[in-house]
């Protein structure tokens, strides 16, 4: 099969840049650890209230400047829904749901994950700036989906 000379040049540069691109995101993922949230922990969705750490949702200090933020999503609320994080804290956010699929998006940040019944999802972020963020449910979950929200305040340490 004959391929025109110009098309060969076009495809060479096109496919070449494609492989450069895939290498970059591959190095970012596997060498630098920038993986999308893909937690493999499972949980019984009907026993979330009895299962630690979700029996006591909220912010827990786990180390020097390191925190865990455990959040329970259910139709149509997050528990807790008012969260204060000290500035500079490295926070591992764990979320699960008691009923249907929800989204967990901290608008304006890279914190964005799917929350599915039976699974815990998790993402770690360091909050270096003070300010307010809105958490919104970004996966349709029913009539009150657009009312499902929570607030995060990043504050200076007392």
């Amino acid at each position: 099969m004959h391929i025109h000379k110009y098309e060969k040049i076009w495809l060479f540069f096109g496919i070449g840049s494609l492989f450069v691109f895939l290498t970059i995101i591959g190095v970012s993922a596997f060498a630098q650890g920038n993986q999308p949230p893909s937690c493999l922990t499972t949980i019984d969705p009907e026993k979330v209230d009895e299962t630690p750490p979700f029996n006591k949702p909220g912010l827990v200090k786990t180390g020097d400047n390191e925190y865990q933020l455990n959040i329970v999503a259910s139709a149509f609320a997050y528990t807790p829904n008012q969260i204060e994080i000290p500035k500079g804290a490295k926070v591992t956010i764990n979320v699960t749901t008691k009923d249907v699929i929800h989204g967990f998006e901290m608008a304006g940040t890279n914190v964005n994950m799917m929350v599915e019944p039976g699974y815990v999802n998790s993402f770690t972020k360091t909050f270096n700036k003070t300010g307010q963020y809105t958490i919104v449910c970004n996966e349709y979950c029913g009539a009150g989906h657009h009312m499902m929200t929570a607030k995060v305040k990043v504050v200076n340490k007392q």
């Binding site: 949230p37 998006e105 608008a107 809105t134 919104v136 349709y140 989906h145």
Partner: protein, 548 residues
């Protein structure tokens, strides 16, 4: 070649039946879309307690599934009858069986959505549980489309038998490739509906595995978009060259790009599930790589299109680097509408690269950016190409001709569409980058300062959506005219010829066993291990919820 120049009247009726349903779906689904953008502007509420999500489900199902599937099957029936000869009575009868199953299924699905028993959106993610009638209706649509697919395969087999050792007509080949893609991918959605969702909604089983159901859905959900796109490519590769008076750049490369789309559009569903728990990131990355392989046939298509345009322009004496652009028939809606669709595919494709990127996805996932993205791909590139095809296909099938006035109106329609979409999709992209979620009714999220920033963009979406609705009214006027009122006469079904300089097409392209074998192998590589993981490490299943 034993090509018939005209689609037989009886085959034309079958194709037109599909096209009528498609445009009725456009009218109703488009109206639902108008209501949505108005609600989201915050200035309008739906009367009589109608739910935003009922309207949204209607919009998605009618435009994403019904308009597309019906138009595509109707178009492909016409294309095969035109290029591989008139259907046998048996083939035509089965074509009608497929049509009625799909139509009854659509009516059933629409009924359960409209009475509020299935506000689950067109992705129907469990454990939201719709009425069994909704799932049953969808099953009928899919099974009906399978019957139409096998009808097309039977017609192709008959042609092969009558023409041993010959390369099949390009449009027939492409239709067969697209239906193979459709059959392989709909197995996933059929599996989740028939094994999981339907028995669960009937109460036969109590709980289902949510992640398995979503994975089966997205095994179908991404190839679905290529099933929409490939018929547009048929128009670009085969029809447009004839309309402008040029030649097909290369028959073999066109076939190669369709085969590559068959390979790389299915084993890629994880790029819709990048942010999900329960799937190892290694397998997500494998599917990201496979996703990006479709860049190759896309680059080939772009090259072919512009090579055809430039060769034609130069044959008409164009000089300079871009002089050939001026020689193109800008006043012909059959060319202009698909061409504008092609232009929109450039930002649409770039946005798609962002969405499928392993990490960048996190910035835009489930924000309204994604909605903006597929309103460029499907609702502009594909739909404008389908409109452009309707402008010759409908009069060809109904024995009429498009008047100059209607052609001018079609040019206006295209411009209106482009302007409306720049507003709507543009502001969706920007609002999405700021974090505005998709699939959500109007909300200020407790007067959050961030959410208040999104409102001006939502008003821009309402303006764009209103302009687009005017575009829908215009295209419905044109289509109604072409189907019922345009003057009687003969309209050509344009089928391009291959350029003399192109080489003979190798026969290996007809080796479907090989292509299907590679497709299945790629699917097994991409899915087997993560799928076994999902089942072995499955959490307790989920009961159904009706939360609307």
């Amino acid at each position: 070649m034993n090509e018939t120049m005209k689609v037989d009247r009886r085959d034309a009726k079958l194709a037109m039946a599909h096209i009528y349903v498609a445009f009725i779906a456009l009218a109703l689904g488009g109206f639902a879309g108008l209501l949505q953008v108005l609600v989201r502007s915050g200035k309008f509420t739906l009367p009589a307690n109608i739910s935003y999500y009922t309207i949204l489900t209607t919009h998605g199902v009618l435009l994403g599934l019904v308009l597309t599937t019906f138009f595509i099957i109707g178009f492909q029936f016409a294309a095969m009858s035109r290029t591989a000869g008139t259907f046998s009575n048996q083939v035509r009868t089965w074509g009608w069986v497929g049509f009625w199953m799909m139509t009854i299924g659509t009516a059933m699905t629409a009924f359960f959505i409209l009475i509020g028993e299935a506000s689950v959106l067109f992705t129907f993610y469990a454990p939201l549980q719709a009425h069994p009638g909704f799932y049953l209706g969808l099953t009928l649509v899919v099974v009906g489309s399978w019957i139409s697919g096998f009808t097309m395969f039977a017609h192709y087999a008959k042609w092969k038998k009558a023409n041993p050792g010959k390369t099949s007509p390009l449009l027939t080949f492409m239709s067969v490739a697209n239906m193979i893609l459709w059959l392989v991918c709909t197995l996933g959605v059929a599996a989740t509906v028939l094994i999981q969702l339907l028995p669960w909604s009937l109460g036969l089983i109590d709980r289902i595995n949510v992640l398995v159901s979503r994975t089966l859905f997205w095994y179908f959900g991404h190839p679905l978009v290529y099933f929409w796109l490939l018929p547009a490519y048929m128009v670009w590769y085969v029809v447009i060259p004839k309309i402008i008076g040029g030649k097909i750049f290369s028959d073999a490369l066109a076939r190669l790009s369709f085969i590559l789309f068959l390979f790389f559009s299915i084993p890629v569903g994880f790029h819709h599930q990048l942010l999900e728990p329960g799937i190892d990131p290694f397998w997500k990355y494998v599917q990201v790589i496979l996703t990006f392989m479709v860049v190759i046939p896309s680059l080939m298509t772009a090259f072919s299109m512009f090579a055809t345009f430039e060769m034609y322009g130069r044959s008409k004496g164009a000089t300079g680097l871009f002089g050939w652009l001026r020689k193109l028939p800008w006043g012909d809606a059959r060319f202009f509408a698909p061409f504008v669709g092609m232009l929109f595919f450039i930002p649409a494709g770039a946005g798609g690269l962002v969405n499928a990127s392993h990490q960048l996805n996190q910035v835009v996932h489930n924000t309204i950016w994604v909605t903006g993205h597929f309103h460029l791909t499907l609702a502009t590139t594909v739909v404008l190409t389908f409109f452009g095809a309707a402008y010759w296909l409908i009069p060809h099938l109904t024995g009429r001709v498009m008047t100059k006035t209607m052609n001018r109106l079609a040019i206006v329609q295209t411009v209106v569409w482009a302007i409306g979409m720049c507003f709507m999709s543009g502001s969706m992209h920007f609002a999405g980058l700021l974090g505005a979620p998709r699939r959500s009714a109007f909300s200020t999220y407790g007067n959050s300062p961030q959410a208040l920033e999104w409102i001006p963009y939502q008003i821009a979406q309402a303006i764009g959506g209103t302009i687009l609705f005017i575009g829908i009214i215009l295209v419905l006027v044109i289509v109604t005219n072409l189907a019922f009122f345009a003057p009687k006469g003969e309209t050509e079904f344009p089928v391009g010829e291959v350029a003399e300089t192109a080489e003979r097409t190798p026969l290996v392209f007809e080796n479907w066993k090989l292509w299907i074998g590679i497709t299945v192998a790629l699917i097994l590589i991409a899915y087997t291990i993560p799928f076994i993981d999902m089942i072995q490490n499955a959490p307790p299943g989920s009961k159904g919820y009706k939360l609307w």
